[in-house]
């Protein structure tokens, strides 16, 4: 290989990387740091609901890749003792501080165009040290600059090795309804 050719290839790699970095920073990614993630595992005996307003999410509209992370300690309960037990005994927040979903929005819409889009999200959820595949239906509503992505799905605590002691078996539902609402903004 000639010296000239080598130089051209080297130069083109540099150019390629430049082009790449511009692709990476193009306006295709959306994010939020204040996503609402709420859950409900109430039974007829006890109301158990919690709210988390600190969900961090990034959506890459080009690939449909989406990631959502929530800090377990940021879940707020109406009753302080419930929150303590949630962190200490059930999800073990010190050991497993975050729940992370990594997946893909199938047929991810162009978020610069107004509309209501029904989507399907598939991926894996990492919770309490257990990673499990899951699928959920979601909806993205675009109205000008406002982009709201929502989904609702059910997980089983037993799937994630979160044990319910027998004495409180009829107080806590093994089925947990999780609802997510994200107001996404362009990522600079």
């Amino acid at each position: 290989m000639g010296n000239m050719k080598k130089r051209i290839i080297g130069l083109s790699i540099v150019f390629g990387l430049f082009a790449l970095s511009s692709i990476a920073s193009a306006q295709e990614k959306y994010f939020t740091k204040s996503g609402a993630v709420n859950f409900d595992c109430s039974t007829s005996v006890e109301d158990i609901t919690a709210k988390n307003a600190k969900g961090v999410c990034v959506l890459d509209t080009k690939t449909g890749a989406i990631e959502l992370a929530v800090l377990m300690k940021a879940f707020e309960f109406k009753r302080a003792l419930m929150q303590e037990h949630f962190n200490e005994n059930y999800v073990e927040s010190d050991k497993y501080p975050k729940a992370i979903f990594k997946g893909k929005v199938e047929n991810c819409p162009d978020l610069t165009k107004n509309g209501t889009y029904d989507v399907v999200i598939t991926g894996t959820m990492d919770l309490h040290g257990v990673t499990k595949r899951m699928t959920a239906k979601g909806r993205i509503v675009v109205n000008g600059a406002s982009v709201n992505a929502t989904t609702e799905f059910i997980i089983l605590l037993s799937d994630y090795a979160i044990e319910i002691p027998s004495v409180v078996k009829d107080k806590i539902s093994n089925k947990v309804k999780i609802s997510v609402s994200l107001w996404l903004a362009p990522l600079k």
């Binding site: 390629g16 082009a19 790449l20 740091k33 989406i66 009753r79 003792l81 037990h85 992370i100 002691p165």
Partner: protein, 288 residues
């Protein structure tokens, strides 16, 4: 030029999936780690007899039933002490985070007690590191038994005792918490002229978690002055067992008293002679 285009395309197509492999979340990662308070250093606001650095959540009411059996050393005649009992019932309430007020009554000497507990500093990690929690406690006790000796004047103030404590503790790991409790106790009336009215004691206590819901606890107070020579330092060991809304604290101790005056000045039993008794505390927390 051809090489340039080819290599450009090559690099682009190779590198894009490589980039997608990385975590998207890294792009919005917070540069500063936020401050995180260390909570749940103990399962309950008391280790066994004395206060722990743990508080209650705002709006929580803790109904506590304390029960002490008789001495195990009494043997089968008294069913190892199970035939006898003294109790203390109390309500503790947290009007706001970091503040706890409580009121109780012990069957021994029909003694009422009240206290205020304030968390000055809470242990934290992350952006602001604070290795310890500091909690201040002050309380008052009032005996309501009729006077034994009515041949001389008795004053209401003679029924009163007061204590102040500084609790300094650290949840060193998820499983291990330790705390020191320098304590000042004042009695308005003492039994003997040789007894000091003001007693200074230093306590040490802690817990070791066995499982998420069960913890081993220990508590020891040493009094430095003014103790009548029959007095012993109270030593207690036990287990905290947590079920849903209750915490059961089962323990062995040489202290019979369930308030600060009582366990610091009226402990006469000796562990080395087997003079210990079984006791339990039940804590039930309600959200108001």
């Amino acid at each position: 030029m051809k090489a340039l285009i080819v290599s450009f395309l090559l690099v682009s197509t190779l590198a894009v999936p490589a980039l997608a492999q990385e975590s998207l979340l890294d792009e919005v990662k917070d540069s500063v780690q936020s401050k995180e308070y260390v909570s749940n250093a103990f399962k309950s606001t008391r280790i066994i007899n004395g206060q722990s650095i743990e508080m209650l959540g705002a709006g929580s009411l803790d109904f506590r039933i304390l029960h002490r059996f008789g001495l195990i050393s009494q043997g089968i005649d008294q069913l190892w002490g199970l035939d006898q009992s003294t109790t203390r019932l109390s309500f503790d309430y947290a009007p706001i985070t970091n503040l706890l007020v409580g009121f109780g009554r012990s069957s021994a000497k029909k003694e009422l007690d009240g206290f205020v507990k304030y968390r000055l500093i809470q242990q934290s990690r992350g952006e602001t590191v604070m290795p310890v929690s500091v909690v201040l406690t002050a309380g008052m006790m009032c005996q309501t038994l009729p006077w034994e000796d009515t041949t001389h004047p008795n004053y209401f103030t003679s029924r009163l005792s007061f204590f102040q404590q500084v609790l300094v503790g650290s949840k060193i790991s998820d499983a291990f918490t330790v705390q020191l409790m320098p304590t000042l106790l004042h009695r308005n009336l003492v039994d003997f002229v040789t007894d000091a009215s003001d007693i200074f004691a230093l306590g040490v206590g802690g817990r070791i978690k066995v499982t998420n819901r069960i913890a081993f606890t220990f508590e020891y107070y040493h009094s430095f002055n003014g103790m009548h020579n029959v007095n012993m330092d109270p030593i207690s060991v036990g287990f905290d067992i947590e079920t849903g809304g209750h915490v059961f604290q089962v323990h062995l101790s040489n202290a019979v008293g369930m308030n600060e005056r009582s366990f610091l000045t009226e402990t006469v039993n000796d562990w080395t002679k087997g003079q210990i008794q079984l006791g339990f505390n039940i804590s039930r927390v309600f959200q108001l």
